[in-house]
């Protein structure tokens, strides 16, 4: 399962909190990677900030719940929310079954295009996330 979840789209960018970013001009679409949603498990609730909200990189832009766990959604990009996926909010399962397409979360108009340089490309993310998984497994098994 872990091998599959790390097979990510080549033309997206990624952040260390397992979000993907698809850039179109000065607007980005944001979602959770397959590995990110896999860590959460079966997603029961999703709550996203409204369009028009100004968000700063690393800040909370929503909440997500699976198996009695409430997680925080953090934006990988600073800007203004210009769209959110109402369909996924109504049916959070989309994030589980189609994380890179219909399970997207937010559309953000970027304030600082320079922030994109701080994100990982697909190859770097796959390597980084793979190392994270190994480190986590070792940490757990050695305990």
């Amino acid at each position: 399962m872990e091998e599959n979840t790390l097979d990510v789209p080549r033309d997206f960018l990624y952040d260390p909190n397992h979000y993907w970013v698809k850039v179109t001009g000065s607007t980005v679409k944001i979602g959770l990677t397959a590995y990110g949603q896999n860590i959460m498990g079966d997603i029961l609730y999703l709550e996203l900030v409204s369009a028009g909200t100004l968000v700063k990189k690393g800040e909370k832009v929503g909440s997500i719940e699976s198996s009695k766990w409430v997680g925080t959604l953090l934006t990988p990009i600073t800007g203004k929310v210009v769209g959110r996926n109402d369909e996924a909010e109504a049916n959070p399962r989309l994030v589980n079954i189609d994380p890179y397409a219909t399970g997207w979360l937010l559309l953000v108009e970027i304030s600082d295009l320079g922030e994109l340089a701080g994100l990982m490309n697909a190859t770097v993310y796959e390597k980084w996330a793979g190392e994270q998984i190994i480190r986590e497994r070792e940490r757990y098994e050695s305990y």
Binding site: I39, L44, E47, E65, S67, V70, R93
Partner: protein, 364 residues
């Protein structure tokens, strides 16, 4: 040479209002995320009695508000996930606040739940109670739930908590919460009571609370290889708590979750089989295509008896899409040695499916 065990803080905040306990959860979690406090084990008690909904739940869908008002039961909302619960002096809350990188805490949620609950299970063993973890989030004794649990995260810190049933008032819980049973019928109520168990019922006499807490402390110390240092909230935490309390008492917090995409429908479905009648009370959310909980009774015989309770646990919060439901039921039976004369797994699927379909129709 023996390795020095890490020291966690032990907090015992005593009987408090729901708002205090919920605000304290946020304050301690925030303080832990900023490295202002050590990993912490807290015991919490509720006075007056309280009905709590999960972070994403809507009070009006989960709680019988008129009954709570009449009985002086406080209503509040947790910062953690999961379903509604009733808390009075018959429960002891336990919770841990740890950094994500704490040794032995897995990233994967299911592994994490199991790992943390092992501490409480080890504590119960010290009281002579043979308990075990039951996915997704329960601790059970012979199939009957003795502790539910749930969690939340904030930056690099996590909060995971559970409630241990010590001497439980099931009748009030049934009246206070919107559960998948028709409360005026005695038989389902009696059957529902068999789904949970408390320390008094297992041990005959209830040990003093200090003994129960000591056992849980020892369980967590053993399980996480730690020492516990009794302490208090620090000055910053107390100040933050005073600041947060008005908000956690406000309707803005308690009713902050708008039920835009939520619903709650109770349906009872009967399915006749060669082995007897299967009656399924199913609480669904047709908007989100979820089975919130299911309660299965009937005049059939299941061996082992607990298998029906385990099936109910597997159905909790599961998808109600027909293909998913079929998968949940078949996978459940595929992994277990269960004998129910005259009844096939498909009969359970048919019974539950009927309840789900009726619920969807009643919504339309």
């Amino acid at each position: 040479m023996k390795a020095i065990k890490p020291t966690w803080r032990l907090l015992d905040t005593g009987p408090r209002s729901a708002a205090y306990n919920m605000a304290a959860d946020k304050v301690i979690l925030t303080a832990r995320s900023k490295d202002q406090v050590a990993n912490t084990l807290r015991f919490l008690e509720f006075s007056p009695p309280s009905a709590l909904v999960g972070y994403h739940q809507a009070v009006e869908l989960e709680v019988n508000e008129a009954y709570c008002r009449q009985q002086g039961i406080e209503i509040n909302r947790r910062i953690t996930g999961g379903g509604s619960i009733y808390l009075d002096e018959g429960q002891l809350g336990w919770e841990i606040f740890v950094h994500r990188e704490t040794p032995g805490i897995p990233q994967n949620l299911e592994d994490m739940y199991r790992r943390i609950c092992e501490g409480a299970v080890a504590g119960l063993a010290r009281l002579g109670v043979k308990a075990q973890f039951r996915p997704k989030n329960d601790i059970e004794v012979n199939g009957r739930k003795i502790s539910g649990s749930g969690g939340a995260e904030f930056e690099n810190a996590i909060l995971y908590h559970g409630t241990l049933l010590t001497d439980f008032d099931v009748d009030t819980m049934i009246k206070c919460l919107k559960l998948p049973i028709h409360k005026l019928d005695d038989k389902p109520v009696q059957s529902f009571k068999k789904r949970v168990i408390c320390l008094r019922e297992i041990l005959g006499d209830l040990p003093p609370l200090t003994v129960i807490k000591r056992s849980l402390m020892e369980g967590f110390m053993e399980s996480f290889q730690i020492r516990l240092d009794p302490g208090d909230l620090n000055r910053d935490e107390i100040m933050s708590l005073e600041k947060e309390l008005p908000y956690f008492r406000s309707q803005e917090w308690i009713r902050g979750m708008r039920p835009k995409f939520q619903n709650s429908t109770l349906q009872v479905a009967d399915h006749k089989t060669k082995g007897g009648l299967i009656r399924v009370s199913v609480l669904t959310d047709p908007s989100r295509h979820r089975i919130k909980s299911a309660f299965i009774t009937g005049d059939f015989f299941a061996y082992p008896e607990r298998s029906i309770l385990d099936l109910e646990a597997a159905l909790k919060d599961s998808s109600s899409h027909p293909a998913d439901l079929f998968k949940t039921v078949t996978q459940f039976f595929a992994g277990r040695e269960i004998r129910i004369p005259g009844i096939e797994p498909d009969d359970f699927y048919q019974a539950i499916s009927l309840g789900v379909t009726q619920a969807s129709r009643s919504k339309e």
